[in-house]
């Protein structure tokens, strides 16, 4: 999408100024026209349909905040410049493969990195234009971070596609098995109802959480990240993460207990039973426990 409004920021002289600021190497042979296209594409991606309505100050701030040097490199590589590609290989190939190893492990790293590498190099279409993955880099982050993001996306998608569970709960034959489903004939006929109430109440409480609280809890309980890692993702110190996790967890529990007591009219003893039955379900797959009843 090419922006058609005549903001001063997208005039050729603006593109030249930003190109000069980007300071690409001379041998990349990057022209101002090529760079202008990349800038316009970046702005269009950011502002979308609102691009024409974007104020000149907003647009200017956005363009000035881009990683212009990296954008210039990506633009030159996308254009097929050999020197730019050599520069990219020298500067980023080791990091690309290192990140792939860190993300996918040794066995999957090479395949993951090689496929990305090929797409970055690009394919020449019948019309003669090279189509490269670099076209999708818009300078909003460092080029290295963008490469990491692509690797992570592809690895996760592949993993989700071919997901296998490898859990401590996969027990060897003959190994003593702790009950993980509701017993065929539960002694308490209310067990099923308690579990269903607890699951529904918790789901409602989770849905009502602030997004950042929910995100923090998900990073901690599902992704099993450390406090430091969560802090890095959320821009917080780990002590702050710990404090807010504690508060969110405490508030959730109170919310669930209050809902069960006030809305479901459970007594304290019944409330304890709810948690006790949930605790007996390992690994707390209430869905499976509830399904087993049906």
């Amino acid at each position: 999408m090419t922006l058609s409004h005549t903001s001063e920021l997208l005039r050729p002289e603006t593109a030249r100024r930003l190109l000069e600021k980007a300071a690409p190497l001379k041998e990349w042979s990057l022209t101002a026209e090529q760079f202008q296209i990349a800038l316009e594409r970046s702005a269009a991606q950011r502002f979308g349909a609102e691009a024409k309505a974007a104020t000149s100050a907003k647009l200017s701030a956005y363009l000035e905040g881009l990683h212009l040097h990296d954008l210039a490199l990506a633009c030159a590589c996308s254009g097929g410049n050999a020197a730019a590609w050599e520069h990219f290989v020298a500067a980023y190939r080791p990091e690309l493969y290192r990140a792939a190893r860190a993300i996918a492990g040794e066995s999957g790293a090479r395949e993951l990195a090689d496929s990305l590498y090929a797409e970055l190099f690009g394919l020449r279409e019948p019309e003669g234009r090279r189509k490269s993955l670099f076209d999708y880099f818009h300078g909003r982050s460092k080029l290295g971070t963008w490469l990491h993001a692509i690797l992570a996306q592809r690895h996760v998608d592949e993993f989700r596609r071919t997901r296998k569970t490898d859990s401590l709960d996969d027990l060897e034959p003959g190994e003593e098995r702790r009950e993980s489903v509701a017993p065929a004939a539960p002694p308490d006929p209310e067990r099923h109802r308690y579990l269903a109430m607890l699951q529904a109440t918790l789901a409602a409480a989770l849905a009502a959480l602030e997004p950042r609280d929910r995100l923090r809890l998900a990073y901690y309980y599902v992704e099993e990240l450390t406090l430091a890692q969560i802090g890095k993702l959320m821009g917080e110190h780990e002590a702050t993460v710990s404090r807010r996790l504690e508060r969110a967890r405490r508030d959730l529990r109170r919310s669930v207990e209050r809902a069960l007591v006030e809305k479901q009219k459970l007594s304290e003893a019944q409330l304890r039973l709810c948690f006790e039955y949930a605790c007996q379900e390992w690994p707390f797959d209430l869905t499976r426990a509830l399904s087993a009843r049906e």
């Binding site: 290295g144 996760v156 605790c279």
Partner: protein, 435 residues
């Protein structure tokens, strides 16, 4: 029902409830937005909008988790220069700047104090303000690195980036200590990643409690196999990718040390340490004989002793406290004081868990795939029954326990450093002396 059990139930429910998040692919951001969010270069409005999506999208969270784990693994890789400045994190500057300031003040004022003692009237030169910037901290780090560079490469001291991790660990330990009384650390523990559990890192608070001859303690550890060939055990760089649904991490094949690799005999490892300590003492002696102008070597001595202490810890750690369970794939490893690592793939990859930041763990036993007992100094006894949550067990006495054997999650025997044996059959509710 005890509150702890309710907490356990709540934790499990949260894990399952949040793991079921799903979002349609067309809602997920492109890589450039994901990267910009990760780098915190989105504007506030856009960041808030995407966080709302991430809070409900397991796919995006997995991708972000993979990115942050890959970053830490890359930073922990030996020999790899940090891309981001070590000094970017102001929290890391605090202890380093304090140490640098102390050294600078000593260097500045020591001559003045000596001249006063001799009656010489000198005007103290203006003390250079300790710049809370790169140079002093870097100098401290380089001194530490150079002091340790004289020792065996196999037991090389941490590089500056490792000191950053040490400083980070120290800051966290201080935080942990401040939160201990409120019980919050029992609620949320800092899980150790590979980067945090780099082999040559030692928590300075632990160092401060060490006395001379601590290496002898290694000799008392009779419950672990000999240390591996290198103190810098090769950590698998591929421990990333949270497994959705609350399942343990998918094993990522990566170069790693197998438990049965060639290993330095413990005696040789202790000999190396003795040589190092001897070298440090020799340097100390030589420094004392130098002219007063060489008082700046105090920093070198301090750094050398610190390096020796860290290496002791590294050796104790590389004493490969690998704890084998009945399942050959499930291994535990005491990574550093207070932290353990769990492997579900026979040692190819490891995931860190914090047991107790103030505990110095020495030995362990794993009678089941999900059960592990840990013991250590000052009555430290812990047990996990789900390979995840660690429970502190009341010890029979405040002794240093150097060995443990266990039959299950309730029955275990612990042996103290002075040879006393205690047995419990009720998970530590009561202990009986044993022969």
């Amino acid at each position: 029902m005890a509150s702890r059990e309710q907490d356990k139930a709540m934790n499990g429910l949260l894990r399952q409830g949040l793991a079921r998040d799903a979002a349609t692919a067309q809602d997920c951001p492109q890589a450039d937005v994901l990267a910009a969010y990760y780098q915190r270069s989105l504007d506030a409005e856009e960041a808030t909008r995407w966080e709302l999506h991430f809070s409900r999208c397991a796919r995006c969270r997995e991708q972000l988790a993979a990115m942050v784990r890959a970053d830490e693994a890359a930073e922990a890789a030996p020999g790899r220069a940090r891309e981001r400045s070590w000094f970017a994190n102001p929290w890391m500057l605090v202890p380093a700047a304090a140490a640098a300031l102390a050294i600078l003040l000593w260097v500045q004022f020591a001559p003045m104090m000596r001249s006063r003692q001799t009656g010489t009237a000198e005007v103290a030169t203006a003390v250079q303000p300790a710049a809370p910037s790169v140079a002093p901290a870097g100098t401290v780090a380089r001194k530490a690195a150079s002091a340790s560079s004289k020792v065996s490469p196999a037991l090389a001291a941490p590089k500056p980036e490792r000191r950053a991790q040490e400083a980070d660990r120290e800051a966290r330990n201080h935080k942990a200590a401040s939160l201990k009384d409120s019980g919050k650390r029992e609620q949320f523990s800092t899980r150790v990643t590979l980067a945090e559990s780099a082999p040559a890192v030692a928590a300075p608070p632990q160092e401060s409690r060490k006395e001379g001859g601590e290496a002898v303690g290694a000799a008392r550890i009779a419950n672990v196999p000999p240390p591996p060939a290198s103190a810098q055990a090769q950590y698998a760089p591929g421990v990333v990718g949270g497994v959705p649904g609350g399942q343990p991490q998918r094993p990522a094949a990566a170069p790693a040390v197998a438990p049965q690799q060639n290993q330095i005999p413990k005696q040789e490892a202790r000999t190396n340490l003795s040589l190092l300590e001897g070298q440090a003492a020799k340097e100390d002696s030589q420094a004392m004989q130098k002219a007063p102008a060489a008082v700046a070597a105090t920093g070198e001595r301090t750094a050398a002793k610190a390096a020796a202490s860290r290496l002791r810890t590294a050796d104790e750690r590389s004493g490969s406290r690998i704890i084998h369970s009945p399942d050959a794939k499930v291994l535990w490893r005491i990574a550093s004081p207070g932290f353990v690592e769990l492997s579900l793939d026979g040692g190819a990859t490891w995931n860190g868990q914090e047991v107790d930041p103030n505990a110095e763990l020495l030995a362990g036993a794993s009678p089941g795939r999900k059960v592990c007992w840990l013991v250590g100094r000052n009555g430290a006894v812990f047990v996990t029954r789900d390979a995840r949550t660690w429970n502190k067990v009341a010890p029979p006495a405040a002794l240093d326990f150097v060995r443990v054997s266990a039959e299950n999650d309730r029955a275990a025997s612990v042996v103290s450093s002075d040879g006393q044996t205690f047995r419990t059959s009720d998970a530590g509710a009561s202990w009986q002396p044993a022969e």
